[in-house]
Amino acid sequence: MKYKLSKIGVALSSLCLCAGAMAQTGEIRVLVANHPYGELLKLSIPQFEKTTGIKVNVESLQESQLTQKLTTEFATKSSTVDVFMTRPLQEGKMFSKNGWYAPLTGYDFSDYPKNIMNAASFGGKTYIVPLVTEWQVLYYRKDLLQQAGLKVPTNFDELEAAAQKLNSESVAGIASRGKGAAAVTQASSYIYNYGGQYLDKGTAVFNSKPAIDAVRYYGKLLGTYGPKGVTSMSWENIMPLFQAGKVAMWTDASVFYGQIVDQSKTQIPVANFGIANFPAGPKTNAPFIVSSWGISVSSQSKKKDLALKFLNWAASKEMAIKGMMGNITMARSSVWDDQVVRSKMNPGLIETRAFAAKNGTAVDRPYMSAVGEARDLIGELLIESINTKGTSTKLDQMAKEKVGRVNELLQDSGEYGK
């Protein structure tokens, strides 16, 4: 009896395999970002094609150009994209509002931190699988701090004192993004640590006293001890400075660590570059930890089953471990506990992530559809503060005005008060 059943079982399963194989031969179009994980995917795609027989047309673009292209294609309802990398906090709300993501029912999200999943779901359904994660850290020059007899700053007072001591004609004491919209994500941790926020329950609240205090501190720090021209600098301008030895400390996202400790990119011995937890503010220490990139299936895709196969592979635990071994900080929780990974990954990353995962905030920007415009508005505040070293008398008035405008944006997109 058993023998007969198993024979039938084998026959049935081989039938299914055949049918499956026929459905599998096809072609899909995938858009990835110029991100280390995107590069990894591109490199690994031939393997995927071999195992599944699906042909993949992959295209990689710089992040803002990726958004532009996707928007042009989706908005004109003439897209041929099947799978794409996406930024949950930057375009997630807008894309899901317009119905551009296909819902991922049945996908197992248990391996992801709950608060990160909040940004991947809208209206009860989940649309994005988080791929990578990043959190705010403090990069610093161990040798310079040692020479000045300083310990690694653990709070904002120590940070300012260290910046002052380390600042000189040839080396900036501290650097952080000052370029308007780009700076908003890095300033967020400063604001959280003062007890402020950008949005609260769908209303703009960044003109609260804690938030303004944080903005003033940010401006004071960068205006006094920052590199020249910092208000037009984002990470791509600060990183070469840091690697050239012209900056002593740098607060930014963890994702740059791999570059910093790459000896081929700098003359300074990489043992001198350190990474530490973001310093605490007067109120708390809750630096941002977010999923910067995820992957989704396009709702306009005509090959959703093939697309899902790709998505499952690209977001799988196996691929995640591959990423971790390449020092790409993945979003899946389990891979951080894997022993092999832990032995290979930079301990600084593991430590700082553990801290951020425990205490951190899951957003690094006003989480709304019109986030691009909101970031420009908040960026104006940051620039004003930096330009006046935090002393501007116009700051409160300006903040009130910007809060009003962000609230308008929220109202226009129906997100106010939600």
């Binding site: 803002s64 928007t71 509002k97 119905g99 370029k179 020249k228 021209g229 070469p240 226009d412």
Partner: protein, 292 residues
Amino acid sequence: MIQSSFTERNLRILFPLPAIVFIGLLMVFPILYTLYLSFTNWNLTSGMEPTFVGLNSYLRVFSEPRFLHALGRTFSFTVFAVAVEVVLGVAIALVLNRDFFGRGFAKTLLLLPLVATPVAVGIVFNLFYDPTIGLLNFALDALGLPQGRWISSENTVIASLVMVDVWQWTPMITLIVLAGLAGLSEEPVEAARVDGASEWQILRYVTIPMVMPVVLTAMILRLIDALKTFDIIFAMTGGGPGYASETLNIMGFKYSFEYFRMGQSSVILVALFFVVLLCSLGIMKLRASSEN
């Protein structure tokens, strides 16, 4: 008796017809689409379909101080850049107008900035202008001159961008003026020389006035393109610091692809089109009347 065929009689229509059809097809729809969008309030962040709102988007955009500033900046960048390019371009043309060893080589050099890819030029100049590790500040420091913030400061960003534009486009003016100078007749210059005028006087009262129509034409051509400058501003500052280098074209791009306010960005683009059109017509009229 020569019989002209249907083709020959209608040559004036048939010859340009393919070009007209092509441009019509490719240009008319975008113009109409942009115009249509400018009368809607389509905003991708609201998730709604475009709705007709008449002149509402126009009112909102035109009353926005940022738009007026961008309009002003478009003019200041253009006037600044074109003025420097014309003065410098004419000067260089006058210098290169005489026969000298290496003249052919110099003329070849002239063409190089013109054919350089603007986007690549912008990215490279970014590094050049960096206040801390950039080559420019280093060279100035080595010469004992004061360093600057260049594109990192609101006060110097327009001038810094103009410098890059001048580097790239002055050769165009020079070439046009050189050709014009070559076409001038020798007599007035000879006559003035016979009358005892100095080289400077000849230059000022004879040569330059004679070549002025050509200079004006060169200026028109450059003006139209300068009003629409996009690549170098996009690659270098993206409109920053803050909005200090945001021209209409850049603002239109931002509103389209960063704010996703399609209705309002269309208004900005329509405005830019009319600015370019009116400036072109205006200067063409000026040139026509100066030729009389």
